[in-house]
Amino acid sequence: MKLYEVFIRSRRGLDHKHTGSLHAENPQQALEYARDIYTRRSEGISIWVVNSSDIVASQESDCESFYDPHDDKPYRHAAHYQLPDEVNNM
C-alpha cells in the first residue's frame, strides 16, 4: 500500500496543517482512513491527503546554499528602522 500524508483544517479560516500519515490503496480510501484515524474527536472540518512520494522537500542540510542570503538582510525587518517614540507604533 502507498503512504499518504494527512493535512487537517481544524477550523474555518485556518490553514490545513500536517497531522500525520497512513497507508492506503487509493486517495479516496486514504481520505476515509484519515477521517477514522485523525478526526475521532472533531479535530477537523476538512482533510487533505497527498501521496507522500509527491512531496518535494528541502533538507535542513541544504540550508547554507538554499537559505543563506536571509541572515544578512536585517533591513527586511521592521525593527531595523528606528523611529521617534511618538510614532514608533507604525
Binding site: G13, K73, Y75, Y81, L83, M90
Partner: protein, 317 residues
C-alpha cells in the same frame, strides 16, 4: 426547483458569514460573491505588481548602497505579495492567464495611485510612508474578510508590510533633518502624494457602487470613509513629528467627532486617473505588457526543459 435549492444554499452561506465563519474554496458560494472577490483580489494583486514600477524607477539611483538594498527588498516583497494574491484568487476557479489578460485588456483595474510618477528620491519616502501606510490600514481590516484564502494572504502581507512604511517614513525623516533643499523636497513629495493617498480608499460611502453588498458578505469589513479617517488621524501626527505640513488648509481637529476634518477631495481627478488619464496610466500598462512579452522566452524555456526531462526519463525507463 433549482431556485429553491439555491436559496437554501444561500441561507446557509449567509448564516455562516453572519456567524463570523470563513468561506473556504470548496464551499458553495453565490456567483456574485465569487465574481466580486475575483474583481477585488485581482485588482489588489495587480496593484502590488504595478506598484513595483514607480519604485523600480529609483533602484539604480538610490542615494546609498544601503538604501538600494532596502528598496530592492521592498520591490521584491511587492512582487511576492502579488503572487500570494494571484494564487488566492486562483482558488476561485480563474487562471493566472485570464487575470493577466484582464489587466492588459484594461478590464481589471489596479490602484490609481500607481499612475502617479516617482519624480524625486523623497517620493520613495512618501510612497512608503503614505501609500503603503494607506494600504496597511486597508489590509489590516481585510485580515477579517470572509473569504479564507484572502484573509490568510492579508495576514501574511501585513506582517511584511510594516517595514515598508517604516523605511519610507525614515527616508522622509532623514530628509527633514537635512539641508533646506532636502526638507523642501520632502514637503513637495508630501504635497503631491497626500491627496492621491486619500483617494486610495475609494469614493465616499454614499457614492460607493459595490459597498453595501460587500459589507453584507463581509468581503469589506469597514467602510471607505472609516478607513480613510483612520489613515488621516494617524498621518497628521506622523507629519507633525518630522515637521512636515499636510497640504490642506481646511485640516482641523474636530473635538465633537474626535477626528480630523479635511477639505474636499477632488473627485474629478480621481475619476480622470481611473478612466486612464493620470500622468502614467499608459506607461504603466505598456511596461507591463512589454515585460510580459519579453519574458515569454523564460516561460517557454521552463516548459521545454520540463518536456526534455520527461522525454529522457521515459527513454531511461
Amino acid at each position: 426547483m433549482s431556485v429553491e435549492v439555491k436559496s437554501e444554499q444561500e441561507v446557509v452561506f449567509q448564516k455562516r458569514i453572519d456567524a463570523e465563519e470563513k468561506i473556504e474554496p470548496k464551499d458553495w458560494m453565490p456567483e456574485k460573491y465569487r465574481q466580486t472577490l475575483i474583481r477585488q483580489m485581482s485588482q489588489h494583486a495587480h496593484s502590488e505588481v504595478i506598484g513595483m514600477q514607480p519604485e523600480g524607477n529609483w533602484l539604480t539611483r538610490a542615494p546609498t548602497l544601503h538604501r538600494k538594498c532596502i528598496l530592492l527588498a521592498k520591490v521584491q516583497d511587492e512582487g511576492g505579495h502579488g503572487l500570494y494574491l494571484y494564487s488566492a484568487a486562483e482558488t476561485l476557479g480563474i487562471s493566472r492567464d485570464e487575470l493577466v489578460k484582464a489587466l492588459h485588456d484594461g478590464v481589471a483595474k489596479y490602484a490609481s495611485i500607481f499612475n502617479y510618477p516617482a519624480l524625486t528620491w523623497a517620493d520613495i519616502g512618501a510612497i512608503g510612508w503614505l501609500v503603503d501606510g494607506a494600504a496597511i490600514v486597508n489590509q489590516i481590516s481585510l485580515q477579517r474578510t470572509s473569504y479564507g484564502p484572502y484573509a490568510r494572504s492579508m495576514v501574511r502581507i501585513c506582517k511584511e508590510e510594516s517595514f515598508h512604511q517604516r523605511q519610507g517614513y525614515q527616508i522622509m525623516m532623514t530628509l527633514t533633518q537635512g539641508s533646506h533643499e532636502q526638507k523642501a523636497m520632502a514637503q513637495d513629495a508630501l504635497d503631491r502624494f497626500w491627496w492621491p493617498s486619500l483617494m486610495m480608499f475609494g469614493p465616499h460611502d454614499a457614492e460607493s457602487a459595490h459597498s453595501a453588498q460587500s459589507m453584507k458578505w463581509k468581503i469589506k469589513r469597514q467602510s471607505n470613509d472609516e478607513l480613510r479617517q483612520k489613515f488621516i488621524d494617524q498621518s497628521v501626527k506622523q507629519a507633525d513629528v518630522i515637521g512636515l505640513k499636510i497640504p490642506d488648509p481646511a485640516l482641523k481637529w474636530n473635538t465633537d467627532r474626535g477626528h480630523y476634518d479635511i477639505g474636499e477631495i477632488d473627485w474629478s481627478e480621481f475619476a480622470r486617473v481611473i478612466k486612464g488619464d493620470g500622468p502614467c496610466n499608459r506607461q504603466r500598462l505598456q511596461h507591463h505588457n512589454r515585460i510580459h512579452a519579453e519574458g515569454a522566452w523564460v516561460r517557454d524555456a521552463v516548459a521545454a526543459y520540463e518536456a526534455k526531462h520527461k522525454q529522457r526519463s521515459t527513454k531511461a525507463a
